[in-house]
Symmetry: C2
Subunit: 199 residues, 2 copies
């Protein structure tokens, strides 16, 4: 015993943050109380406001406190492209590439063993969105994992009867790494997906 009850409660509460263990939580709690109380107050308020007001965009299902998120509300984006991702963080990652089409955000991936079927992850809403839109292409950008691939495959099958092109982001060797560190499956995909070099 060395921290008082309210400090222990704060340390426990901080441990719900991803990647934060006991030691880090202690450091965070004491930092806020000893050195940055105004920052701590701002954090408590920002968290309370976000939890109270942030829901899901009614069009793409990403997190947003407005009915339409910034990406859906922007009239200058390309209405012919729809990118399907597994979560809000992926929208941020795809935005960094310069993509300026629309999005649809699933609630994770299909996981039959956990009872997560198409309805649980929002595929019916995706179909409605595709029907209501004027998309020419649906780009499936679920994770390059077994579950992400299975989810991509299921969506492609479901959309096969519609008249949009369905594509999948390319697999291959990541930029900047060393070939000997790339796993065999990735390397197979990279070989099979080889393209002529433009000179």
């Amino acid at each position: 015993m060395s921290f008082s009850p309210l400090i222990r409660q704060l340390i426990d509460a901080l441990r719900i943050l991803p990647g934060v263990g006991q030691k880090t939580a202690q450091r965070m709690a004491l930092h806020l109380l000893e050195r940055d109380r105004s920052g701590g107050l701002r954090l408590a308020q920002a968290l309370t406001h976000a939890l109270e007001h942030v829901g899901h965009c009614r069009q793409c299902r990403t997190l947003s406190e407005e009915e339409l998120c910034p990406q859906c509300a922007d009239p200058r984006r390309d209405d012919s492209l729809l990118c399907v991702v597994q979560g809000p963080m992926d929208v941020f990652a795809i935005e960094q590439t310069g993509y300026r089409g629309r999005y649809f955000v699933l609630k994770g991936h299909l996981s039959p063993l956990d009872g997560l079927g198409p309805e649980a992850i929002g595929i019916p809403e995706l179909l409605v969105r595709v029907e209501q839109g004027v998309f020419e292409e649906v780009i499936i950008a679920t994770n390059p994992t077994v579950e992400g691939e299975a989810t991509a495959h299921y969506i492609a099958q479901t959309l096969a009867s519609s008249d949009v092109t369905v594509s999948r982001i390319a697999h291959g060797v990541p930029l900047g790494g060393e070939l000997e560190l790339v796993d065999g499956g990735t390397l197979s995909h990279a070989l099979a997906g080889r393209r002529p070099i433009d000179l």
Copy 2:
């Protein structure tokens, strides 16, 4: 732009936590909003309560919502020993060693260039505490840094006229490491502080 304003504010607020950069703050914000809203609410409340109620123990100056912290309120501890540390986190570290005397928590170390003299870090309160107590030994456990050493030296001088023994935690090689990785200054201290082996 890909997060709505309230989410951006939450991400910014999370960055005040020590060791949390932009990417980690994003992951934390989306985790709380997408997967653990009850945990997020608990964190906001724990933080608000702690900021409202936690002050400093009137005896040892560590963080506490009670007038006396758990260490000062415990009647079973050794009243003849006082351990002086730089901050509340150090109390936790010393407790782990099994030490069960009393504490005094400074506000960091002396730092004349930053205008932090003896008053700023609480040395007058330390002297009052030593006078009022029945301590036989004051153990100075400030950090083994240049500033921590200077602070220890200053306290030892200040207490020289009192009738308590003033000691400093030992410097030496840390347990479990390899000698070739220990810096020269530490190794010099370890050599100079060598002791006979008890057989």
